[in-house]
């Protein structure tokens, strides 16, 4: 009888760390779960620490150095930031990006909200499906590849857009060759590509507004604009905040459209912050200076996002 307790099928009898883990008890099971937990999160945690969290801190560090990636780096303190504060090209790129964000995000939000409301009001599921697909499709394309297509379409001489504008008597517009028009062409391209995102988000938000609330509003005689301002908009405001925050963060990082369509030009008219980071760090190999611009952009993104949440207390309505 005494021998059976020592049989291999009773792991409790093993000693040392293996026994501690394989112990056939509730405590042993909890230990196995914990061990498995650590093993399971290890790849993700490692990846995030090495390729995201670490590099953010390293960006701050690198911004204090002068370094061309070949010679050893030199510590220069805050000199990169001092240079940045006096670099009109870089400061201008922040202004340009700011203008882009305001134009692109407001156009994107307004148009996609109208489209979502229009599609939501249709009862024919077939029509809804067709429109949903059409508005959504551009989001699936690559911003870089589709910018090639739009650059051809916006071409002053053989572009299809000027061709049809000419049919209604509009003189050829120098879309990509004038500083005012180039910004507009890039805004339109960006919004065209991104509208599907906010459209889908709004469509989800609108279908979440309960029929009861809308029917009650109808009974109270609230229709048309009144219903939109007093019922739909407040009910949709949390969705609106979510869409606005993500749209602004995305637009602040715009790169492919101006890079492909205008290469930042004419002059620096469409040179965005990320283009300046790219140019400094990877064309001119000024790793430290590029990092300083990247750090500034990161801080701007954090501040703008915090501000949006702060201001949201005034207009977002939580049920």
């Amino acid at each position: 009888m005494a021998q059976t307790t020592h049989s291999p099928s009773a792991p409790a009898a093993r000693s040392g760390p293996i026994g501690w883990i394989t112990e056939n008890s509730l405590a042993g099971m909890a230990r196995r779960r914990a061990l498995l937990g650590y093993l399971f999160i290890l790849p993700s945690l490692l990846g995030v620490l090495v390729f995201t969290a670490g590099p953010v801190i390293a960006s701050f560090g690198l911004s204090l150095y002068q370094w061309n990636i070949i010679d050893p780096p030199t510590f220069i303190g805050l000199d990169n930031y001092e240079r940045l504060a006096n670099d009109t090209r870089v400061l201008q790129s922040f202004v340009t990006t700011g203008q882009f964000v305001v134009l692109a995000v407001s156009l994107q939000l307004v148009v996609s909200l109208l489209l979502a409301m229009g599609v939501q009001s249709l009862k024919q599921t077939g029509l809804r499906y067709v429109f949903r697909t059409a508005y959504f499709l551009p989001l699936l394309t690559s911003a870089a590849s589709i910018s090639i297509v739009l650059a051809y379409m916006f071409h002053q001489d053989f572009g299809v857009i000027n061709y049809y504008l000419g049919k209604v008597g509009v003189a050829r517009i120098p879309w990509l060759n004038s500083s005012t028009w180039a910004m507009l062409a890039i805004v339109l391209t960006y919004v065209w590509q991104q509208i599907g995102f906010t459209f889908i988000v709004f469509l989800g938000g609108l279908s979440g507004i309960s029929r009861d609330v809308l029917e009650a509003a109808d009974l109270d005689g609230a229709t048309g604009w009144r219903r939109f301002w007093d019922i739909t908009l407040p009910m949709l405001s949390p969705t609106l905040l979510f869409a606005a925050v993500i749209a602004v963060i995305g637009a602040l990082q715009v790169f492919a459209e101006p890079f492909v369509m205008t290469n930042g030009g004419p002059g620096d008219a469409t040179r965005t912050v990320v283009m300046m980071i790219y140019e400094s760090a990877f064309s001119f190999l000024q790793i430290g200076y590029g990092s300083a611009i990247a750090v500034l952009l990161f801080v701007v993104i954090l501040l703008v996002t915090a501000l949006q949440f702060r201001l949201s207390n005034k207009w977002v309505f939580y049920q």
Partner: protein
């Protein structure tokens, strides 16, 4: 009696009028929505029909919106002018490696965060969640330096390695695992299953919708990405599709746009297929903010 009749007819005309107004409103709405739909589809259709014209004709106006005599020569040219086949292989290898990597790491982490208890779990979760906020630009320079130090410059691995795990993926799959009730585990324990078996053969199959969402979103993001390939890759034979096409456009200038557009259309095909197969999952993921990563 006559009063009642006229009242009745007034009600009838009012009802009739509101019906007409409703019809008219619907007509206006559908017309406007249709106009926007045409604008939204126009660039894709333009790219398609222009790629089917002969290179010489490709920039003559107006565009032929209905390709009566399709000329497929541009689709041949794009393969002979540039190493287009190599671009397709590169994009496929890089994207699939990243999708598989993210599915594995995110499923493991998501399961652990949702269902396994261990000291420090909340802290680790918050660390990963906090990095969701960090934009690519804030990390790309140090990652570029790290890639160089590892000797991976100008390799496909330089694109894959940093993207093998995803904070968004871990977070997303945690949400899916949280939805699955605990009862399954208790039943499995009674039948003598171990912890790995519970994860692998019970919970993972139940999280399939979440895995689909992550796979489709990740495929879209990395198939289309441009900035990292532009920075990490130098030689043409390593290029992915978007980078190769932008390079071709710059090289050809405005020479023969049908060749470039043929390339654009080919690069769009996998994404369209993925949309047709998994649009439900795609929409679900986008609502969680996944495509802006």
């Amino acid at each position: 009696m006559s009063q009642a009749a006229s009242q009745e007819s007034t009600i009838a005309t009012t009802a009739h009028r509101s019906l007409v107004l409703n019809r008219l409103g619907l007509l206006i709405r559908v017309t406007l929505l249709l106009a926007v739909a045409i604008i939204m589809l126009a660039p894709i259709v333009y790219a398609l029909v222009t790629s089917l014209r002969s290179p010489v004709e490709s920039f003559t106006l107006p565009p032929k919106w209905i390709p009566t005599e399709a000329d497929w020569s541009s689709y041949r040219s794009v393969f002979t002018t540039i190493p287009f086949e190599q671009y397709i292989v590169n994009s496929t290898v890089v994207t699939l490696a990243i999708v598989i990597g993210q599915l594995i790491t995110s499923a493991l982490a998501g399961y652990a965060f949702a269902r396994l208890k261990f000291p420090g779990r909340e802290l680790c979760f918050w660390i990963i969640l906090a990095t969701l906020m960090i934009p690519l630009q804030a990390t790309i320079i140090p990652v570029f330096v790290l890639i160089k130090e590892l000797g991976l410059s100008n390799t496909r691995a330089s694109l894959v390695l940093p993207a093998l795990s995803s904070a968004f993926g871990a977070f997303l799959l945690r949400q899916y695992f949280l939805r699955i009730p605990d009862d399954f585990e208790e039943a499995a324990l009674l039948e003598g299953a171990n912890q790995w078996e519970i994860f692998w053969s019970i919970y993972l199959p139940l999280a399939k919708p979440g895995l689909s969402v992550l796979a489709i979103l990740t495929f879209n993001v990395y198939w289309n990405e441009f900035l990292r390939p532009l920075i990490f890759l130098q030689s043409i034979d390593k290029f992915t599709l978007p980078l190769g096409l932008v390079n071709l456009q710059g090289y050809l200038g405005t020479g023969s746009i049908s060749v470039v557009l043929a390339g654009v259309i080919v690069s769009l095909l996998p994404v369209l297929v993925v949309y047709l197969v998994g649009q439900r999952y795609l929409v679900e993921g986008i609502m969680m903010g996944g495509l802006k990563g």
